[in-house]
Symmetry: C2
Subunit: 96 residues, 2 copies
Amino acid sequence: MNVLVTYDVNTETKAGRRRLRQVATVCKDYGQRVQFSVFECRVEEAAYEEMRHRLMRTLNPKEDSLRIYRLPFPREKHVEVYGLDRYTSFDDPLVF
Amino acid sequence: MNVLVTYDVNTETKAGRRRLRQVATVCKDYGQRVQFSVFECRVEEAAYEEMRHRLMRTLNPKEDSLRIYRLPFPREKHVEVYGLDRYTSFDDPLVF
């Protein structure tokens, strides 16, 4: 499944700035950063649950906001991008 | 149609900070802010095109990033929210 993870973390405190780093670190395990606090992830159900739990354990629900959108297939038909684009298609051949 | 607008604007310059304000102002005409640079909009095709053009005119494609995702119906089945949630359902009765 394709999911979009977006988050706002309150960075007024040192703890908040740490949470912001940790959230990005978690998301990197499951997908790619397409904007500063937006990740696109392609995950199976089990990995999705694992990611969700790790994110919920990391965030402070009283100060932060996490939104996870399930995107329809095929991804390309449902997203339009303008300007800078960090996305690398999961389907493109990896060149080493 | 339900769309999700996410953006990163380069705010290192005064012009960038102005663009950031302008992008939010445009998005507010079509939907609601759910996170700092994430808006959920419910628009018809014509309004969608209008929003898209206004956003593309506002942003600097060399410095900024805009992503627009078409979300499937019903919205509630495809989004999970944790922590702070600014969203007000378009379907809830407006109380004046």
